[in-house]
């Protein structure tokens, strides 16, 4: 489903990723681990073409992502939902409006939006916060809203960049359970994280990056190499 082939990404001559090869199958749950600056976020940015690779090819289904015409980008991005490290919620829209915005983008009419948005909020347990603005939400609530928004477009792949990084442990487990549920419902989930406890508990595929290279790719792996 997703394939990185000999991917190198340089910023001003410094390699953030070098010759990365990675294949992710449909329905997988994958942890991306590694120290800060290892290249996890860069890898995600390349997949949704927020950045272009310096060399190599990235395939999503039959699309070669870096060759994709600009016009097709929205389609790619609707298939790959992202939960950003910094949430990237629309600050001047309420929780329910943040969801509706994405529903609108994917072409749902006002009636459908009215029907779907509360359901999606319920899924992440935010029904009561529907009319609050992002600044009125706690870290965990923001994180769940970000996930809800990513889910609104019914993506085939959900990428979560450090979804537990900015929230307390209890909230973190809520978020993780949510991601697992989404994975069980059939979506591919990629999660970049520093949270060793989560990785060790879930026993899923682990890909470890260091200095822009994949140093470990382990089925049912743990956070630290054993």
């Amino acid at each position: 489903m997703i394939k990185f082939e000999d991917i190198t990404k340089e910023y001003n001559g410094l390699a953030a990723l070098s010759e990365v090869n990675l294949e992710i199958k449909e329905g997988e749950f994958l942890f991306l681990v590694g120290p800060s600056g290892a290249g996890k976020t860069t890898l995600i940015k390349l997949l949704i073409r927020e950045e272009l690779p310096t060399a190599g090819e990235i395939y999503y289904d039959s699309w070669e992502v870096s060759q994709l015409p600009r016009k097709e980008l929205p389609r790619l991005r609707r298939e790959i939902g992202i939960v950003f490290q910094d949430f990237k919620l629309l600050p001047r829209k309420t929780a329910v409006e943040n969801i509706c915005f994405v529903l609108d983008v994917v072409g749902k009419g006002p009636e459908e939006q009215k029907e779907l948005a509360p359901e999606i909020l319920k899924l992440v347990d935010l029904e009561e916060q529907r009319d609050q603005f992002p600044y009125q939400l706690s870290g965990g609530e923001k994180q769940r809203l970000a996930i809800a928004r990513a889910l609104a477009a019914e993506p085939k792949v959900l990428i979560a960049d450090e979804p537990t990084g900015m929230i307390d442990p209890a909230s973190a487990w809520n978020v993780i359970n949510l991601l697992r549920k989404i994975n069980e419902l059939g979506s591919t989930v990629i999660m970049a994280t520093h949270n060793a406890a989560v990785v060790d508990t879930l026993k899923q595929r682990v890909v470890e990056l260091d200095k822009g290279k994949i140093i470990r790719d382990q089925k049912e792996g743990e956070y630290a190499a054993s």
Binding site: E50, P74, R77, K88, L89, R92, F101, V105, G109
Partner: protein
Amino acid sequence: MRLPKIFRTSFEYIRRNKWLTATSLLVMTLTFFLTSIFAVAAFGSSKILKELEHRPQITAYFKDDASEQEVLAVKNTLEQTGLTSSVEYVSKEEALTIFMGLSQEDPALLEGISSNVLPASLEVKAVNLSDLPQLAELLEQEPLLEDLQFYKDVVEKFRRLTAAARLLGFGLVGILSLISLLIVLVTIGMTITTRGEEIEIMRLVGASDGQIRGPFILQGALLGVVSALISVILLCLLLPFLVPYISGALTSIPLPEVSPAFLVGLLVGEAVFGMLIGSFGSWIAVRKYLRV
């Protein structure tokens, strides 16, 4: 995005940037107002020019002893050249009637005046102004001719003046249009900068260029249409004060009426132009934020 939604988003953008919007509205209105003034001036002067062209361009006064037959013979000669559009004979008696009409306010002038004092004349209009010298030459060869008044210079002078004014107007309007475009660019650009993060997020969750650009382009178009509307309303309010002032300066020429049809045409033209400038400006401004 559906149309009502685009409108709603547009109005939201305008509301959040009141002062910037007001500034660009002001500059665009000013541009359109000046355009309107020049358009009215161009419309008026072309009417005046037509009026002047309809007046006799050569008046040939004949000597006292020239008989009506002799003058009519000259008229005939002129008409046979095929260069004239009309040649009119004004007899001594008719000249007196005209003179008395003009001098009614001043009875002293009328004392002791009889038809004998005033000369008979021919009023000549040419089809083409450029043929006037040829006609004048023909008349000057006439031994019965007393005096020749040649209006060509007046018409030509006015024509040149009009052309210069029009050129100046076009230049000025052109420069102002450019300034308007830049102001729209800056306004919308600033609106967009304050929303740059939002645009980026929109792109990342899969909004298409059109979905993002729509409301901004509409905002620019609205700005253009509204300023065109204001400027024409302003013009309509000012015209009644301007017209007497100008007609006071141009005594002998009747000032042409500015018709409602002309004003409507002006409004439509400016609104379309404003819409184009506004949406083009927005399109350019958004373009650079859509790179993600």
